[in-house]
């Protein structure tokens, strides 16, 4: 892991100091989404912000661009606070965010209209950039006539036409198929390396480690709950970067480990006395997975002899971190799996789970859930305490509301209900919103 890579003597274009995001609660407490963070965007760099989904990457991007209000700290644009004046930035969106009723050229011209360019000049600039991204001949097509890759080219053209000083990209290639994404990455690098665009820095948010290593000069790894800078890497490989090169593979592996280790600091100090923070954090954050994926993961692990590198495991399952990590988290939470230095090791329970039939799996799952998940334990106890064994799901949502943001509380409850149903702890009627204890 490299040291903090500041560029000596160069003033950052955008600098965020103690930037944070939280939601104040009625009772005076707050739900911290992003803890105070310093981030700087220097000229001449591609910066990748890497982290699992839902960790606050996109919120960070929106605060840096001025789209989303900050809860604390400030963002500076060439030393002046953002807010007095909008920074000259553009965003390329994951969903493209094109206006379907405008043609390609009208979409690209729209930002120029907003900046009061005359029609002739608008047209000239739009055509130039359309040519540069390889959209020649599609000027009067509507977005819905285009393939995903072509649409994102329009997104890039629209972003570049205003000659932004910093180009922000929010998971720009993750809605595309693998080949198209690779092509577009290459084209972006070409524009950037050959200085065909006046853009001075690119800030890309992604959950794809290889994408970050292919593109970026600097990779910032975000941790969760609340989001914080977990690690930072400088990439000094020459372009074009080769995925097979040993240095490339080593860096990907290192970042992989950083990503997986971050979520389980408590594992490092297993057996430590229960402290106040742990009591307050009565509810562990449940990863939003369905129990169905557990079996697949554990079975493969058994095939690998009970221990495997997570990186290998991801390859085996042809998954990205984003997809694999929540399932790994779940297995760890339930005590079916242990993590050691980027390796996953199956536990005795995990082994029994992988080898069991459906009913045995459910029994193991039920036991694991009751032992390890306070929320589900509490739900079962509350239901048992009621004479009619029935409670409204809203009751639990209210409890969770005190610990999570409203959306997150709902998602947590949804996940808990999924798990509880699978464990046959209770039944749930979606129409009435009622939970009923399963009598064994």
């Amino acid at each position: 892991m490299s040291t903090q890579s500041t560029v000596a003597g160069v003033q950052p274009i955008i600098e965020a100091r103690k930037l944070e995001k939280f939601y104040p609660q009625p009772d005076g407490s707050r739900i911290q989404v992003i803890s105070p963070t310093d981030i700087a965007v220097y000229p001449g760099q591609i910066i990748a912000l890497l982290g699992p989904s839902g960790c606050g990457k996109s919120t960070m991007l929106r605060m840096l661009t001025g789209l989303s209000p900050t809860s604390g700290g400030s963002v500076y644009w060439h030393g002046h606070p953002v807010g007095d004046e909008a920074p000259n930035v553009s965003i390329v969106f994951q969903s493209f965010a094109l206006f379907p009723w405008l043609t390609v050229i009208e979409n690209v011209e729209a930002p120029l209209e907003a900046r009061a360019f005359a029609e002739f000049e608008r047209h000239k600039r739009a055509l130039r950039i359309i040519d540069a991204v390889g959209l020649d001949g599609f000027e009067s097509a509507y977005p819905k006539e285009l393939s995903g890759g072509m649409k994102q080219r329009v997104g890039v053209a629209r972003a570049l036409v205003v000659e932004p000083e910093v180009l922000f990209m929010d998971e720009p290639f993750s809605a595309l198929d693998v080949l198209t994404a690779e092509t577009l990455r290459g084209e972006l690098l070409e524009l950037w390396l050959e200085k065909k665009i006046p853009t001075r820095a690119i800030f890309i948010v992604t959950h794809n480690i290889e994408e970050a290593v292919i593109l970026a000069d600097r990779i910032i790894v975000l941790g969760r709950n609340p989001a914080h800078i977990h690690a930072e890497f400088s990439v000094n490989l020459a372009y074009p970067r080769d995925r097979k090169e040993p240095q490339f593979v080593e860096l990907v592996d290192m970042i992989y480990r950083a990503l997986t280790r971050q979520d389980h600091p408590e594992l490092a100090e297993a057996g430590a006395p229960v402290n106040e923070a742990a009591v307050r954090k009565q509810y562990v954050m449940l990863p939003h997975t369905r129990p169905g994926g557990l079996a697949g993961l554990l079975e493969i692990l058994v095939d690998q002899g009970g221990r495997a590198d997570l990186h290998v495991l991801a390859d085996e399952l042809s998954l990205e971190v984003d997809a694999l990590l929540p399932t790994v988290d779940t297995a760890v939470l339930l005590g079916l799996l242990k993590l050691e230095e980027g390796d996953a090791i199956i536990t005795a329970d995990g082994h029994a789970f992988a080898k069991g039939d459906i009913q045995e799996r459910k029994a193991i799952f039920r036991k694991a859930v009751i032992t390890n998940i306070p929320l589900l334990r509490q739900m079962e106890q509350a239901l048992k305490a009621k004479a009619n064994r029935t409670l409204s799901a809203e009751f639990f949502e209210d409890l969770l509301d005190e610990h999570f943001s409203q959306d997150e509380a709902r998602r947590q409850l949804e996940t808990a209900i999924q798990w509880g149903r699978y464990a046959e702890l209770f039944d749930y009627d979606a129409a009435s919103g009622k939970l009923t204890l399963t009598e064994s």
């Binding site: 001025g66 807010g83 009723w101 509507y142 819905k144």
Partner: protein, 579 residues
């Protein structure tokens, strides 16, 4: 917005151009004459008790008068609805008041606005026919505007987040956002609701062109008054001529305006992938290919819009906006308090006056009001039931069979576009001879006016049931009854609810014309809330009118809240077909 002209051989383009331009040139004469006649009529002195002609030869001019009234009212509706919807969607404070208010306004029948509107307009222009004309136009307006406003509001509320963010990060001015995001995103909803509104205008035309207010008898020359007069005097020949003219005008409007507009609106569909094309419209293609409209757009409209966009563009100097600040930008404090005070004061005054008026009603009046409310309630719901009973099987049959649909769709659309009120006198001719003919006629009119909403929604619902579910029903050998219970009814349920909500509101509003009618020299009426309102308006019993209106608004809003909203929730939680 219109694609740049393609590179077509010049000769072909000129041929088309000259053809259509000649057509336009000729019609200019007709337009000028039309404007001249309307101007002379509107700016002339007040003509109370105009003699409405019974001569079919006067029909073209009368049709023009009515058409202009409806179009002007629609234009006003559109402008008002855009402003209302925009205000409700962009300001949280305004939203609190405007949206519930919309619910209430929508439930008030056209005639209840009549005395207020007419007295105000006649007072404004005491010596000109313009006052009466404007009154009539505003009456039509009150029947057209609310659903458009609601449609625009809900469209604005559902603009995807990333598009809003793109508009901010690319520094769109409010004007540019309106023109390139808000309006296009709402277009499809606006078009469909405009069609419904204009149809509503035709439906209430007879009530809006000819009415008695206390001792004054207002008659405006037009198709509605022609039909009304023909019905009153029992002139069957004139009745049929009027009906034929109205159908012709509506069919022409459908072909020349709505079909091309719907085809054009297709490009505003918010979809990332091209779906099955709607086939386009030959007239639209002709206009697109063709010169006059395009040239008018390029030379006139486009430069103006462009100039405005640049004029409002904030350029490079631009204060940062966040999504939150754009959404919740509050108006100036004092402005808000002033507006709030005015609203509260007006409300208090209104309540005070209302209570005063209602105090004039004695116990007997209240008994009448409640009894008539009960009768109309029964009538409306029976009409809805009958409507649902026949439209569900027919709608499902049409929706399940593409061949049948192709055959039936145009017929159904034509039938739906004929305003039931115009058909009503003809219907009455037959039914009046039966013993409870007027009861049947009243319900028939409600049914005729509202069943189409149910039918169209059922067709859409049946078409939305996925083929694999139908195939599953086939494989499991569902019996006929099981197929309906397990597959079809749950599948169309959300659509059926949507249709029934609209139909229910429409039937209540229609009761004012369905239960009370001038026919063959006498008043034909079925006891009910609608006839109470119409009679009160006719005889100038304002306190009775007020009481009946309040009761009707309360019932409609209550039914919406208690019944339909629950059904909606059920539909969206349990019966939603998710992919």
């Amino acid at each position: 917005m219109i694609p740049p002209a393609a590179n077509r051989p010049l000769g072909a383009r000129w041929a088309y151009a000259s053809l259509i331009d000649i057509g336009v040139f000729i019609s200019v004469f007709a337009v000028i004459f039309g404007i001249y006649s309307i101007g002379r009529s509107w700016l002339g002195p007040v003509r109370v008790e105009t003699e409405i002609s019974q001569d079919p030869a006067s029909l073209p001019l009368y049709a023009l008068y009515s058409l202009v009234r409806i179009l002007v009212a629609y234009g006003l509706s559109l402008v008002f609805a855009l402003a209302y919807g925009y205000a409700a969607a962009k300001s949280q404070r305004a939203e609190l008041v405007l949206i519930p208010l919309l619910d209430i306004l929508q439930s008030i029948p056209v005639l209840s606005f009549l005395p207020g509107v007419m007295l105000a307009m006649v007072a404004l222009f005491p010596s000109r026919q313009l006052g009466v004309e404007l009154g009539s136009i505003i009456l039509i307006f009150t029947g057209q505007v609310w659903n458009i406003a609601f449609s625009f509001y809900s469209s604005l509320k559902t603009i995807p987040r990333d598009l809003r963010e793109a508009a901010i990060i690319y520094r769109f001015s409010k004007w540019q956002r309106f023109m390139e995001l808000d309006l296009p995103f709402s277009t499809i909803g606006l078009v469909w609701n405009s069609m419904m509104s204009v149809a509503g205008g035709w439906f209430f035309l007879m009530a809006c062109e000819m009415f008695v207010l206390g001792n004054k008898d207002f008659r405006l020359p037009g198709l509605g008054s022609f039909l009304q007069t023909a019905a009153s005097s029992g002139n069957t020949r004139a009745m049929l001529w009027g009906l034929a003219t109205m159908v012709a005008v509506i069919v022409l409007m459908d072909q020349l305006i709505w079909r091309p507009v719907i085809a054009w609106a297709d490009k505003f569909k918010f979809e990332q992938v091209e779906s099955g094309t709607t086939g386009g419209n030959s007239l639209l293609n002709f206009i697109r290919r063709e010169s006059f409209v395009i040239r008018l757009y390029r030379r006139l409209l486009h430069p103006v819009v462009n100039w405005l966009t640049i004029r409002f563009a904030s350029g490079a100097k631009f204060a940062a906006q966040t999504l939150a600040s754009v959404q919740t930008r509050q108006p100036r404090r004092w402005l808000f308090w002033m507006a709030a005070t005015a609203v509260v004061a007006l409300t208090v005054y209104g309540i005070y006056r209302t209570v005063g008026e209602l105090a004039l009603l004695d116990r007997g009046d209240y008994v009448i009001l409640l009894r008539s409310a009960g009768l109309t309630f029964l009538r409306v719901n029976l009409a809805l039931l009958i409507g649902a009973l026949w439209t569900v099987p027919v709608g499902v049959a049409i929706g399940f069979s593409p061949r049948f649909a192709r055959l039936m769709q145009p017929l159904v659309q034509l039938a739906a576009s004929i305003p039931a009120t115009a058909l009503f006198p003809v219907l009455l001719l037959v039914l009046i001879r039966l013993r409870s003919g007027i009861e049947i006629a009243a319900m028939a009119l409600m049914l005729l006016g509202t069943q189409w909403y149910i039918l169209f929604n059922v067709i859409a619902g049946a078409m939305a049931i996925p083929t694999d579910l139908k195939e599953a029903a086939e494989i499991f050998r569902f019996s006929h009854w099981e197929r309906w219970r397990r597959l079809i009814l749950p599948g169309i349920f959300p659509y059926l609810v949507t249709g029934m909500v609209t139909a229910s509101g429409g039937a209540w509003n229609a009761s004012i014309v369905a239960e009370y009618f001038h026919f063959q020299g006498k008043v034909v009426e079925a006891p009910g809330l609608g006839s109470t309102i119409s009679r009160a308006s006719d005889t100038g019993h304002f306190h009775m009118l007020l009481g009946a209106t309040l009761i009707m608004a309360t019932i409609v809003v209550l039914i919406n809240r208690v019944l339909w909203r629950r059904m909606y929730r059920l539909a969206s939680s349990r019966f939603k077909l998710e992919t």
